[in-house]
């Protein structure tokens, strides 16, 4: 056990799985870096250095740089997965799904069903998401709802270094196509992460806080902000459960419903845009299954229905903040049917 960053945790999971299983390979733009160029080998390790240091151990045959050609290499990862490898392909920013989505949602996601259960496609697509880097509209989106919508894909949203290592290890060992969402703002976050390999189960939400008054249902980077809010409000006598979904597909419906029933008050915190989102999906799930237990309407804290803006002043108010989460929690606590009636 030692402190590791989110970036190191991902790198370690990849390294350990590559050591364990010779069919595990990775590929992506500049994932090693400097291919064919006159400078250093292992020049980059991906744009943010996540895969750095792996090529010297595993060699170019298993650590593949690609041309900027997402359709071809994401499709190649899918095709390789269907024919005996366990590729981990990096889609640098999830915003780039637009140039390769067919290979993910029409090919990888559907092989097993279309082929009558005979295909196994153990591909992992790692991708960076989220706002906060002043990266503007085409490098800051969340987009996980689009993938969650597709049957046949699994969608994983690690919220911390410990979660990232265990969930990526599971993703690589999993026999289904997995989209692994890494929040770019979390890469330097640090916590204790075991040195030994371990897996975290898909479809099992994690309660990062347990309380009686409000359930904050959230995912990805928003778990961290929600924890901060829960800790702060604890001091004010409002105790919150924080549900880290871990995976949006499969979705741990039971835990969400249970927590809604236990608290009767729910705030869903989701960094994505609000239409057809996890926030709306979870709200619908709760109203269908725990309506009788609700003591107040469900509140959603999300980005607005706009693209991510560039100007720092605008981006800061685009992303859900602890202040907005706190306000939502206070609102559901203060809500009273009598006052409304």
């Amino acid at each position: 056990m030692s402190k590791k960053t989110y970036r190191q945790a991902i790198n370690e999971a990849l390294a350990q799985e590559m050591r364990r299983d010779p069919t595990v390979i990775f590929m992506g733009e500049d994932n090693v870096g400097g291919m064919g160029a006159p400078g250093e080998d292992d020049a980059w390790g991906g744009v943010l250095g996540v895969t750095k240091g792996l090529m010297p151990e595993f060699g170019r045959e298993r650590c593949l740089d690609t041309p900027i050609s997402e359709s071809a290499f994401i499709g190649a990862a899918v095709g390789a997965a269907a024919t005996g490898l366990r590729p981990v392909a990096e889609l640098m920013f999830v915003d780039f799904m637009g140039v390769c989505f067919d290979q993910i949602f029409n090919q990888a996601a559907k092989f097993r069903y279309m082929f009558g259960g005979k295909a196994v496609t153990p591909v992992v697509i790692r991708t960076m998401y989220g706002a906060g880097f002043r990266a503007a509209s085409q490098h800051s989106q969340c987009l996980y709802p689009l993938f969650t919508h597709i049957p046949g894909l699994k969608v994983v949203m690690p919220s911390s270094p410990y979660e990232a290592k265990g969930l990526l290890t599971q993703a690589i060992r999993d026999d289904d196509p997995v989209i692994f969402f890494e929040h770019k703002v979390l890469y330097d976050d640090e916590e204790e992460v075991p040195d030994d390999p371990y897996t975290l189960p898909f479809g099992e939400a994690n309660l990062t806080r347990e309380g009686d008054d409000v359930a904050i249902v959230t995912l990805g980077r928003m778990v961290k902000l929600s924890n901060e809010v829960a800790d702060k409000l604890e001091g004010d006598g409002i105790s919150c459960t924080v549900v880290d979904l871990r995976t949006t597909s499969p979705l741990d419906e039971d835990t969400i419903i249970e927590c809604a029933e236990e608290t009767g008050r729910v705030v869903v915190v989701d960094e994505a845009n609000p239409r057809c989102s996890m926030a709306t999906d979870i709200s619908a799930l709760i109203t269908q299954n725990a309506f009788g237990a609700l003591k107040s309407p469900i509140k959603m804290v999300t980005a607005p229905h706009t693209p991510p803006p560039f100007a720092p002043e605008l981006e800061d108010i685009y992303i859900p903040t602890p202040a907005k989460i706190e306000a939502a929690v206070r609102e559901v606590v203060a809500y009273s049917r009598e006052v409304v009636a």
């Binding site: 499709g75 095709g79 067919d102 090919q107 289904d176």
Partner: protein, 327 residues
């Protein structure tokens, strides 16, 4: 290195090739008739007329070699060794169809035969074939991977990106452009900028154009491209000029080409006729042997249709299965 010519194939191999071409032709003719009679659901796209292309390539492949097909995939499936009765059942949407009735005509696959699927997405296959070729290379299986695309698919970015990736990764991949003159209703003479061979050249790959009505021409070009891939010399492109006898899909009124053109192609460029002429004229096979194959093939397909019609549909419980390995 000179590849062996198809004309030097032993008798049993020639019979095998002819049998596959007959199976494809009868299969497609039957599906055409049955679809017209209303007994087949969905869309079907028929391969009749193009048999020499699929068979000319598949004669060189084994089960460890992979192919990716197109929406017009029945011929590739049969030639790659998929069970024709299970295929017919699949097209009828039956429980014991090759894909349990969940795929249908556009998604027939049999991974155990190296058939990675017909594909409903034009240009969907070439990236997958880069992956299959990467697996073969990484796992050192000695296998190759072949992507079939139509002239329509040859214009997709996925296809062109795959040429590039296969080249820069030096993959054992072969890209076969089956140019049947029409992408849906649009002529390839109009829709394809430049030429298929110049495209290959542009990506640094060898390219060769073949007469897709002539099994032997296809066979020889395939031998060269596949041999190169097996030797670690990287990808190649083969431009197959061919013709489909039926419309883009069943129900197509085929108003974009002339009856005279169709008639001329069917009488003068039919790949089955050309094959039998060649082998009988040169004395490689006699006419009676071909007739025997033809009759057996016809009977097999009749049985396949009868069995498919009688087979049960999948039960409602099958709706929810086979989405994930585990969930």
């Amino acid at each position: 290195m000179m590849s062996p010519s198809g004309m030097q194939l032993p008798r049993e191999e020639l019979v095998r090739a002819y049998r596959m071409m007959c199976d494809i032709r009868h299969f497609e003719d039957s599906v055409h008739d049955e679809f017209a009679a209303g007994s087949i659901p969905g869309f079907v796209h028929l391969y009749a007329g193009e048999e020499a292309s699929a068979v000319g390539f598949m004669m060189h492949l084994n089960d460890a070699d992979r192919i990716a097909s197109t929406h017009r995939g029945h011929g590739h499936c049969i030639a790659k060794g998929c069970d024709v009765k299970a295929m017919m059942k699949e097209i009828y949407g039956r429980a014991d169809g090759l894909c349990g009735g969940k795929g249908g005509s556009m998604h027939i696959a049999d991974l155990t035969k190296g058939m990675m699927g017909a594909n409903g997405i034009v240009g969907g296959g070439p990236p997958l074939i880069c992956g299959a070729a990467l697996s073969a290379k990484t796992l050192k299986t000695g296998g190759v991977a072949v992507a079939f695309v139509g002239d329509g698919g040859s214009n997709q970015g996925t296809t062109l990106e795959s040429y590039n990736l296969a080249k820069v990764w030096n993959l054992p991949a072969i890209f076969v452009v089956e140019d049947n003159r029409y992408a849906e209703s649009t002529a390839s003479a109009w829709s394809v900028g430049g030429s298929q061979l110049k495209r290959a050249e542009g990506f640094g790959m060898p390219g060769r154009k073949v007469d897709g009505h002539d099994f032997f021409d296809v066979y020889d070009a395939a031998a060269e491209a596949i041999g190169r891939a097996r030797n670690g010399e990287g990808p190649s492109l083969v431009h197959v000029e061919t013709y489909r006898y039926y419309g883009h899909f069943e129900g197509d009124a085929i108003t974009y080409r002339t009856p005279e053109e169709e008639e001329q192609m069917k009488t003068q460029k039919d790949c089955l006729k050309i094959f039998s002429q060649r082998v009988t004229e040169t004395g490689l096979l006699d006419a009676s042997a071909l007739e025997e194959v033809e009759a057996e093939s016809r009977s097999l397909i009749e049985q396949a249709v009868a069995e498919a019609k009688a087979a049960p549909a999948p039960g409602p419980d099958k709706l929810l299965t086979d989405v994930y390995v585990s969930y």
